[in-house]
Amino acid sequence: MNIFPENVSTYGQDIDQLFWLVLVFAGTAFVISVFILLYPLFKNHHSRIQRAKYITGEGKAHFKWVIIALCVLTMSDFIILFAEHHTWEEFETLPQQKDAEYIVTGRQWNWAFTYPGLDGNLGTADDVVIDEPNSELHVPLSKNVFFQLKAKDVLHSFFVVNSRLKQDCIPGRTITRWINFTKEGKYDISCAEICGIAHSQMRNFIVVESQEKYNTYIDSLYKQHSATAGGN
């Protein structure tokens, strides 16, 4: 069933599977609870019953059923917690191997992208910054791509629906997250934290392409950049 948009990251599938796992537990709990709620409405309808049973539920004999139900519930909750913990770590821990890194800065109202430039290091003079509406961030396919997420003015939230990653960007902080894309294509980057009047217009693209195409793009980008820089 396609209730999620297409997943294009290595870890996105885990999120989708987690949904189905929780749904199994929540669905079971729902069905049982609805039964407990509705069954007595029919069976114990006042037209069929002479007199209700006097049960206070204070004694162990009766309240133990609630306790048992709560224990089952707690156990299911912890099963979910253990299952999801691995996915959480996968998202929140950076892998050893870093293949590419960019700075993504949220501002009112655009995502600005910083490429490391020819020296391969971010934060140096030859960094290439692209800050235009609808601009694209090009990244290589099947590589561990790191994003240093920043915000210039207010809170923003870096959201690439198709990768399942969402991370708030905080002024004054740098938060690094990563994605490994599994499919070439052009995907939306949106902002998931309200950031002012044009919050809805904050949309850029992430373009995933094979290493060769990516290299060609980067070469031309850097060449173009040094040409304009030299012109100054």
Partner: protein
């Protein structure tokens, strides 16, 4: 203690009244007016979502900043100016003195002051729509830096900044908290000191217990938010830098202070309604409330746990990933006492003699809908899935499935249950059922589909998805339209309630003193209870839930009647 009925002028009886019932009615009716405003805002922005850019009937064009303002104020109004006055202040004022068997609140004048402060807070909020900046539009959570520097002028004068929408919203909220604190002190003091003879703690009805627990949770958690809100106000008006990273502040600090209150607030809103369910379900099951004492212990446990869950709102806000696990566990743990309370309510039904009446229908509808709201919380409580679902319509649908039954099903259950007591009139049954079913159906058709929009990736607070080609697709576009049309129908269905309310009040059949054959003390008083409530102070002999006692002919035993 019995007051003699003395002639009161219209003003002292209905406006500047110190009578708890009048104040309860003032709170409730103000809350309902604010609900109408909140509903209207919802109508406007839902219409815009389904039919972007089109002219909205009886409103016109909705600009992007107005969309933000409307969404923000809808949330603010529904939580602080509808749920709080109706559930906490309304229920508390109507029920506490009558249920514990006293003539009025401990501090009637403070009670009156509490309402008038509340009214001023509502006026300040509504006034914020008319200041030059318009009402605040940076989401009801008011996260800085947006709430601080969301306006054009980087260095406004103090007075200019004081009349920003954001400043007025903070002031309105502060006044509202002051009002609820005054009311809350009254609730607790009255419950502790003014109980009828024989009303020992374990004989107090669940509703009174729960309103008091809710009040105490509110008092414990509100301090940090008030501090946080005033730092925000100083940042806006005085140019301090509490939340400005460039000057050593930290925007995340506000999120912590906000949710330290914001999440317990959910239980402040939930407990009074649950208390009402605890009154209604035993009456119409003719059976004692299952595990009355244990339910109270569970609620006290949840009150303690409510202060260790707040950061589950901030899983992706940049907090330490290891901290998230702690709050995930806290969130799981707090679901346990509430599951226990709901299970105990459902267990009350088993073995009962169930009569479906209007209040019972609302109570059962509440449980059914809240079940969906609670269980979808499981998805969001698991922090990994929250990475994806956070700030999407999945969250929107989830909390509407908790808050809507809580606020409106809870209120309507109470309304249909106690209307005969407080007006002395009967409501029209047929209309009541029609109102119930239309509300139930249209609520579901409004919000259930939004779960799918959220899973499909639609993020919140977007006035137009045209730019986002991968989420602005079928079936989500159709779902938006169905949700909007249903929301309009849901709002229109409430006219049945207003009509029933007015017509039954003015010309309804005279109600019996104890039409549901219930045990609690309010049913001993006349309908409507006069100023001073009881002719003679009732003496209490046993708990509130002695239904279908063996060796008795009647299947109920009022609290003030000695067993044979």
């Amino acid at each position: 203690m019995a007051h003699t009925e003395h002639k009161q002028s219209f003003l002292s009886k209905y406006v500047f009244s110190t009578d708890h019932k009048t104040i309860g009615a003032q709170y409730t009716i103000t809350g309902l007016f604010m609900a109408a405003l909140g509903g209207f805002l919802a109508y406007v922005f839902r219409y815009n979502l389904a039919f972007p850019g089109e002219n909205i009937p009886i409103f016109g064009q909705l600009a992007a900043n107005q969309y933000n303002t409307f969404v923000t104020c809808h949330g603010m109004i529904m939580v602080f100016w509808v749920a709080m006055p109706i559930l906490l202040a309304g229920f508390g004022n109507f029920l506490i003195p009558l249920m514990i068997g006293t003539d009025d609140m401990a501090f009637p004048k403070l009670n009156m002051l509490s309402y008038w402060t509340f009214l001023i807070s509502a006026i300040v909020l509504v006034a914020s729509f008319f200041v030059p900046t318009g009402a605040f539009g940076g989401a009801w959570t008011m996260y800085p830096p947006l709430s601080v520097n969301g306006y054009v002028d980087p260095n406004p004068s103090f007075f200019k900044a004081l009349f920003y929408g954001s400043s007025l919203m903070i002031l309105a909220v502060a006044l509202e908290f002051t009002s609820i604190l005054m009311g809350g002190i009254n609730f607790v003091v009255t419950t502790i000191n003014r109980r009828a003879p024989g009303m020992t703690p374990w004989r107090i009805p669940l509703a009174v217990w729960f309103i008091n627990i809710a009040t105490v949770i509110f008092m414990f958690s509100v301090g940090p938010l008030v501090a946080g809100a005033f730092m925000l106000l100083f940042d806006i008006t005085l140019g301090t830098g509490f939340y400005d990273p460039a000057r050593g502040g930290d925007p995340i600090l506000f999120q912590h202070l906000f949710w330290f209150f914001g999440h317990p607030e959910v239980y402040v809103l939930l407990l009074p309604s649950l208390g009402v369910l605890g009154e209604i379900i035993p009456v119409f099951s003719r059976k004692p409330l299952f595990g009355y004492k244990k339910i109270i212990y569970l609620a006290l446990l949840s009150a303690v746990l409510s202060v260790v869950v707040w950061a589950h709102h901030q899983f992706i806000a940049g907090i330490d990933p290891r901290m998230a696990t702690f709050f995930s566990i806290g969130t799981i743990l707090i679901s346990i006492p509430f599951a226990g309370i709901f299970l105990a309510f459902m267990a009350t039904l088993w073995g009962g003699k169930i009569k479906i009446t209007l209040p019972m229908a609302w109570a059962l509808g509440f449980i059914g809908l809240f079940l969906i709201g609670g269980l979808t919380g499981l998805f969001l409580g698991s922090n990994a899935f929250d990475i994806y679902a956070h700030d999407t319509y999945f969250v929107v649908a989830h909390f509407h499935y908790t808050l809507f039954p809580d606020i409106f099903f809870g209120f309507f259950a109470a309304f249909y249950f106690w209307f005969p007591k407080f007006t002395g009139k009967e409501l029209k049954k047929g209309l009541g059922y029609l109102h119930f079913w239309l509300t139930f159906i249209f609520f579901n058709s409004t919000f259930f589909l939004l779960f799918f929009n959220g899973l499909g990736g639609q993020h919140r607070r977007i006035n137009n998805y045209d730019l986002f080609s991968n989420i602005n697709i079928e079936p989500y576009i159709t779902f938006e339209k169905i949700a909007t049309i249903s929301a309009i129908c849901l709002i229109l269905s409430q006219t049945l309630f207003i009509y029933n309310f007015i017509v039954s009040w003015r010309a309804g059949k005279k109600a019996e003193k104890n039409p549901w054959q219930a045990n609690t003390l309010e049913w001993v008083a006349d309908s409507p209870p006069p100023h001073g409530n009881f002719e003679t102070v009732p003496t209490v002999y046993h708990g509130a839930y002695e239904y279908s006692l063996p060796n008795m002919e009647a299947d109920f035993l009022p609290q003030n009647v000695q067993a044979e």
